[in-house]
Amino acid sequence: MADYKQMWTDLGMDLEKHDLLCEVLPEAFGGVYLSQQNRPQGMGFYDFVVSEIHGVRPAEMLEHQKQGGKVFGTFCVYVPDEVVFAAGGIAAGLCGGSQFWVSGGEKVLPANTCPLIKASVGARLDKTCPFFLIPDMYVGETTCDGKKKAWEILAGEVPFHIIDVPQMKRDKDVAAFEAEIMDFIAMVEKVTGNKITAERLGESIKLINNKRKGLQRLYNARKASPVPISGKDALLVTQIAFYDDPARCAQMANQLAEELEERVARQEGVFPANALRIMVSGTPMAIPNWKLHHIIETAGAAVVVEESCTGTRYFENLVDESATTVEGQVRALAERYMKTNCACFTPNPGRVEDIVRLADEYKVDGIIDTNLQFCNLYSTESFLVKQALADKGLPVMHIETDYSEQDYEQLRTRIEAFLEMLRK
């Protein structure tokens, strides 16, 4: 068997504790993923990535560092990966989605912090995830209060740069974000020792746009009925996209999309054509958080789109590639990133508009608007989402949950009741 023990030891990991996670993964993944029927062949790559989750990609990153490259760990879709790759670095999304790490985070964070933050901090402090131990620098942002304070704790562990994401979307806010990107460029240049030229940034913008296009193409196939891929599988693709090599991510997403397009042409699906089509909107579901999708899909409905950071917010809107100066490219980056509609903005009508638009594009029967426990922003915004969707006659239910199994049966009952209502 692949033996990564030396690599993990060199990283200073707690091998005994980490082994407990390794023990659980096969059963957790099997229960959610391998129990599905008629999965696309292209999912083999993603099954492989999960099977070697703490081995293959961390080894690639360490090799990159051996060659003098730098690795940046990120936690948000507002961090412009383009800057990191333009400087010859690797950007890897680190958001923690495992219940296993939550208790480690609770040692230093208030219990009423969202599980994503607790898991991310716990993964680093408990030394049970190589991805959290490899980066030369973490890049945080200011998208919620919980994260802002967690950064101050993590900054005691690893060099930290924080991007100040504006709270509003006026022209002066876009300009402020543009200035933040310029500061980020200066920091990345300093850490990597590489100059970010217009040529390199231009190539990097194309690289990340290609990744977005691959994911967009994959999601487009989900608009078909019957749907050619399960929501769980599509979610896994997006989750892995956060830390995979961007060129390979685009290649694998395009390959899978091609297979899905062939399925669509044959009218082949993984759910019957009359299965309910559900949109999940709200907070991100970092790997390996598959709980809600699993409940919905084992109840017979298909998740056909995610309006979330592990969904459309990650890849909608491309960066304009026409600029030829760094200043012009940074303006284009700021404009693209500020189009993303996160609940951290006020007011935030764009997100509700996105949900309504996606409901139409993906022909959904109902929306499950969800937020991670203690996420005040998305939880509060759920009121406005509900109000707007009621006005449009779109059925919606709101769910607040965490990574644990404790509310599994309760959620299943609620979701089954919602689906039953949609069937009537």
């Binding site: 659980v24 070697e52 199994e405």
Partner: protein, 86 residues
Amino acid sequence: MESHEYDWYILFPNHHQGLRLNRELKEQGIKNTIAPTPREASTSCGMSLIVGEADLESIMAVIEAKSIIIEKIVKIARKEWQYRSC
């Protein structure tokens, strides 16, 4: 016990060998699924291939013909997959 109550896992010394066999079997139309290796099969992490018992003979022929190195083949009683968080 009936053979259909078991899953057969092929384990490898490294993922390169596992991916090679996965590719060869795919080309020959032999069903196989990449999966994390269950603890019952090995205490090491990493990928294995789940295959059907009926295909074992043909798979062994491919392994030999293509000089693919495997670690072992493990027969594990099939269990009903249950949801659990990780």
